[in-house]
């Protein structure tokens, strides 16, 4: 058990490319920390530096009280679960799990006991004498977990351990991993590109982009108070809607209408923004069918929009409409779109807004519907830097 501290950790490849830039992160003892970001953001490189599989170009890495920059992986007392599991194909499940213990010179009867126990926890008892080739994806994944937990290491490092599983199994294993981690109470660093995994699993989540740590905080903090456009757009599904607006006096001029500027937002707005154009972010659930808002109707702003499409999820509905206006130009959002492949779909262009409505809503496709938006839930961002103008300043 130990905390992991990164201080100004940088990874520079020989060709000069910086995969991780000046990363500062403190992972507390027993904490479940998620590193999340689009592919190529440096999260895996960061994890591999913690594991000792990549050299640290500059900065300091501590596990517990020890500076481990120069230590080989075996001296760091960490266990890692690889994306492709990296099971030894010539060994049985039992030998795979016993391998780290054997290397550590643990006596045979203790190896036996620990492997059996890990197999019991992971429900692998009847597979102990099989080879990895004869196991299903989920079973291989559990063997990889088993190989990590038998050691009782100072920390677990997991590199997208669930990304090779199919969707259903992934959800199942996700809860499994969360339960296992809280039972064992071992410090865990978990890398994923899947924001849902990040939000559901972690005690705290660290969002990375292009080698730079963007924001660290609890899932709720990241969701409610993103520090910039990138985090706002990355966290949450469906993603936050963005439109260009202008603050004029007490209202925000938006493509959907002149939304009143809530007093608490005005207070938090940093800098002189009057008359300047800003990027406004609205989460889908900040909208509602105006007919269903009841007493809250007067607190919010009601506008009309032509509904292009309604998707019913059973428990809720997603209504899509178009808000004409200036399109949002931001390199951060472009990168997000590129990563999710959305830039290849022509229909998901600028101005498309998605609203999450109650399942009871009667709005259907083609309606000129009355929608309601909560003005206190707006997020304002600087269009040039992408920084949040309404950030509370907590969490990072």
């Amino acid at each position: 058990m130990a905390q992991i501290t990164l201080e100004g950790v940088t990874k520079r490849f020989p060709d000069g490319y910086e995969a991780v830039k000046d990363m500062n992160l403190e992972i507390k003892d027993g904490e479940f920390m998620i590193l999340v970001g689009p592919s190529g953001c440096g999260k895996s490189t960061a994890l591999r530096m913690i594991a000792g599989l990549e050299d640290i170009s500059s900065g300091e890495l501590r596990i517990g009280d020890r500076v481990v920059n120069g230590l080989a992986p075996k001296e760091r007392d960490i266990a890692m679960v690889f994306q492709n599991y990296a099971l030894y194909p010539h060994m049985t499940v039992r030998e795979n799990m016993a391998f780290p213990l054997r290397l550590a010179g643990v006596p045979n009867d203790e190896i036996q006991r620990k492997v059996e126990e890990a197999a019991r926890i992971l429900d692998l008892e009847q597979h102990l004498d099989r080879k990895p080739a004869n196991l299903s994806g989920g079973q291989r994944q559990r063997v990889a977990m088993g190989r990590a937990i038998v050691r009782d290491p100072a920390a677990f490092l997991m590199d997208e351990p669930l990304s090779n599983l199919d969707a259903k199994l992934r959800v199942q294993m996700r809860t499994e991993v969360a339960r296992l981690q809280s039972d064992l109470g071992t410090t865990t660093v978990y890398v994923t590109h899947d924001q849902t995994e990040a939000m559901t699993l972690g005690d705290r989540v660290a969002v990375m982009r292009a080698g730079v740590l963007q924001q660290v905080g609890s899932p709720a903090e990241l969701y409610d108070d993103p520090v910039n456009l990138f985090v706002a757009g990355f966290i949450g599904s469906p993603a936050m809607n963005f439109m260009v607006g202008r603050i004029e006096g007490d209202v925000v001029k938006l493509p959907i209408g002149d939304v009143p500027l809530a007093p608490e937002l005005r207070q938090r707005l940093s800098g002189d923004v009057a008359g300047k154009s800003v990027v406004v972010g609205i989460r889908p659930e900040s909208f509602e069918d105006a007919a269903l808002t009841g007493e809250a109707r007067d607190r919010g702003y009601v506008f009309r929009a032509k509904i292009d499409l309604v998707e019913s999820m059973g428990s809720e509905k997603y209504a899509y409409f178009t808000a004409k206006g200036e399109s949002v130009q931001s390199s951060e959002l472009q990168e997000l779109a590129r990563d999710s492949g959305a830039d290849e779909i022509p229909t998901s262009g600028e101005g498309q807004v998605v609203a999450r409505l109650d399942a009871a809503s009667r709005i259907t496709r083609g309606d000129e519907a009355e929608l309601w938006v909560d003005p206190t839930k707006l997020h304002f961002f600087d269009p040039e830097s992408g920084k949040s103008l309404t950030h509370r300043g907590s969490g990072s």
Partner: protein, 287 residues
């Protein structure tokens, strides 16, 4: 369905034909080696069937090969030479090729493609064009008719073969496993010995068999660079077999010797084919 059966029939006929053509000489040699020397050249007037198969099976041809012990037999010393030269070449070749292939498969270094291209060029080089110069050089250097005199040219031609085979195998090994082993607490050497070597073994065996067969079968260097039983290998020695008298052909003994030198190759392939095909790497990473 109909088309399927017809295709199947055509394939079957084709396969039978190919196997027949490939095995006929082998069967013929075996048949010759089991015939009485006097019946080998039976004249016209008997059916092909009777001419092809021996009337009476005799092992005299085999016995004659080993008559006289190591000093007088024309076969025992060359057989020992063949085995030793092929084994030594295989050993040196595989050790050197493993180092080279490991570096080529794993590391990025300047001149990597030049090395591979050079190896390929050497493999393509017609051996006959080196024989003349080698003959002169070896005589000057005192390597003519010695083991090293054969092992060195064999190495030059078998190394490219071994390097290419091993590079192909090494590239297939999931190197993540090496890192997994290091995180699991292995030193780099332990990771190599306990994880990589078992996975690389099938490839190494394959390369070893190929090199061994290459050396074992060589006739050109063996006939040109040897002059006595001190280093003459079996393929070359066969050419110097003599009959009982000046007027008899040693066909029976040559056939028997040919059968004997074929046996190790067949045994090797049968034993190691299982290891090669075992597909050890299946299931290491999600495919």
């Amino acid at each position: 369905m109909e088309r399927g059966t017809r295709e199947y029939a055509l394939w079957s006929i084709g396969i039978v034909l190919i196997v027949f053509v490939a095995l006929l000489p082998v069967v013929w040699i075996v048949s010759l080696s089991l015939k009485e020397p006097s019946t080998i050249t039976t004249g016209p007037g008997i059916s092909v069937w009777d001419a092809f198969f021996p009337k009476e099976i005799t092992f005299d041809n085999y016995k004659s090969l080993f008559e006289g012990g190591i000093d007088d037999s024309p076969f025992i010393k060359p057989l020992i030479n063949s085995v030793l030269i092929a084994l030594i070449t295989t050993l040196i070749s595989i050790v050197l090729a493993s180092f080279a292939a490991y570096a080529i498969a794993r590391l990025n270094f300047p001149g990597k493609s030049a090395i591979l291209a050079g190896a390929l060029a050497i493999a393509m080089f017609p051996p006959i064009s080196t024989v003349g110069p080698l003959f002169d050089m070896w005589r000057t250097l005192g390597l003519y008719d010695t083991y090293p005199g054969l092992i060195i040219p064999y190495l030059t031609f078998s190394l490219p073969l071994a390097i290419y085979t091993l590079v192909a195998f090494f590239r297939e090994i999931p190197w993540d496993l090496e890192q997994a082993a290091q995180v699991d607490g292995a030193t780099p050497f332990q990771a190599f010995r306990k994880v990589i070597v078992p996975l690389a073994a099938p490839g190494v065996f394959t390369a070893a068999i190929l090199v061994f067969i290459f050396c074992w079968n060589d006739f050109l260097f063996a006939i040109s660079l040897t002059s006595s039983d001190a280093s003459r290998t079996v393929p070359a020695a066969l050419a110097f077999f003599t009959g009982e008298s000046q007027f008899t052909q040693p066909v029976g003994s040559i056939a028997a010797a040919a059968v004997i030198v074929t046996i190790p190759i067949i045994v090797f392939v049968l034993i190691f084919q299982r290891r090669i095909v075992a597909g050890l790497t299946a299931g290491a990473v999600k495919g």
